[in-house]
Symmetry: C2
Subunit: 242 residues, 2 copies
Amino acid sequence: MPKAKYDQIYRDLKEKIETEYYAYQEMLPSEHTLVEEYGCSRNTVRRAIAGLTADGYVQPMHGKGVRNIFQPIEQTAFTVGGIESFKESAARNRKVPFTRILQFAEITADKKIERKTGFREGTELLYMQRLRSLDGKPLILDHNYFRKDLTPGLTPEIAARSVYDYLEGELGITISTSKRTLTVERVTQVDEKYIELKDYNCMAVITSQTFDDNGIQFEYTQSRHRPDYFRFQDVATRHRMK
Amino acid sequence: MPKAKYDQIYRDLKEKIETEYYAYQEMLPSEHTLVEEYGCSRNTVRRAIAGLTADGYVQPMHGKGVRNIFQPIEQTAFTVGGIESFKESAARNRKVPFTRILQFAEITADKKIERKTGFREGTELLYMQRLRSLDGKPLILDHNYFRKDLTPGLTPEIAARSVYDYLEGELGITISTSKRTLTVERVTQVDEKYIELKDYNCMAVITSQTFDDNGIQFEYTQSRHRPDYFRFQDVATRHRMK
DNA sequence: GCCGATTTGTCCGTATGTATC
DNA sequence: CGATACATACGGACAAATCGG
């Protein structure tokens, strides 16, 4: 729970933007004004604005001001954004989540697994396969690999509820960085068996390596989504070239 | 061309990480050390490190140091990352690009286009449809909408080379933010006509709204990729909850 | 367990540069 | 040209986490 001042300002401005207290395309108050409003230094205000910029909420313009460029999004499909557990995503998308464990096993990484997951050969791993349903419809098939030594006491029961709740709540692990790759792959027999695919022959696939606050990878996941319920969102800023 | 000191340091460290001058999982020199090396203030060093953190290159650990968590990626498919023109992406993926113009027309936004693109009804637009090939293989189908008043003098000839070169070079437009949505959609007749899809019945689709440095949207693009040559990469950091 | 040294995190005040109006 | 606004940079202070003795 960050009580940092810049984070308070960040959240306050974010809410004012989301609730359209500031209109789309409107200028925010100047940094100088915000400094007086919040009773802080200019650096602190700038830090909050930097966060909103990274989120694609505002765009600072040299010499002119900071423009609100936030537009609310339509939430039809299942939208993926930052690092979230399935449970959190479901709540944000206002769906009722359900998880069914298909497999749960302890394995040791071999060369093949090393290439795929990034875990060194010989690493003790927990492997699980989970079918995720939203509002009763099976939509997502997850293949997880957790480092066993970093996730002690992880049982199928926990896996059916929320692994992240357990890791963050019980074990005190801080989840920090996730490197993700998004591809489109052919359906497998397992996909077909558990997910109603109509005539789709592809799945939207997110593979991710997740690191804790020590920079140690504790998870590798492949998450296979039914195409028509998948949506991934992102804001990019152009890096000045050369 | 940014000559900012923090950017110099950012690039220098980035290169040292990419060339494995610092090994994977190794600690970078402390901020204090870097301050002396580069002859700058601590804030400036910290700003460079913040950039590397956002890129997923390093992970700072309170009280311990900054760890290198960069791993080079295998470049088999066509990898998409930040905001890039097709030409730039092709160069980064070491492929020879070719563009064929399928359509080029001036249109006026109606209600339907407004909903899709975010451009207000009545806005004068340039619409173009382009087939992109890499190493001779047709792989990507682009549908672009540009605001006509912001992109004067844009011809089919320019569209065949690089629109971004023209906008940034000739018109002096600064491209800054892009909001992207990634979905998987069924193939259309146009897809089938121009792209060798084997038996795939889906395409990887990136839709994006791009803004200039005034926060004005000047482009809407839908970019349809052949699944087996598509790869999207991303680094996410977990926001502390509540 | 305590203490001090090291390292990163937060915040402040100020100065100067640059773009806009 | 001056006023305003954001961008960069510096230096200092204190807090919080880590580590070694």
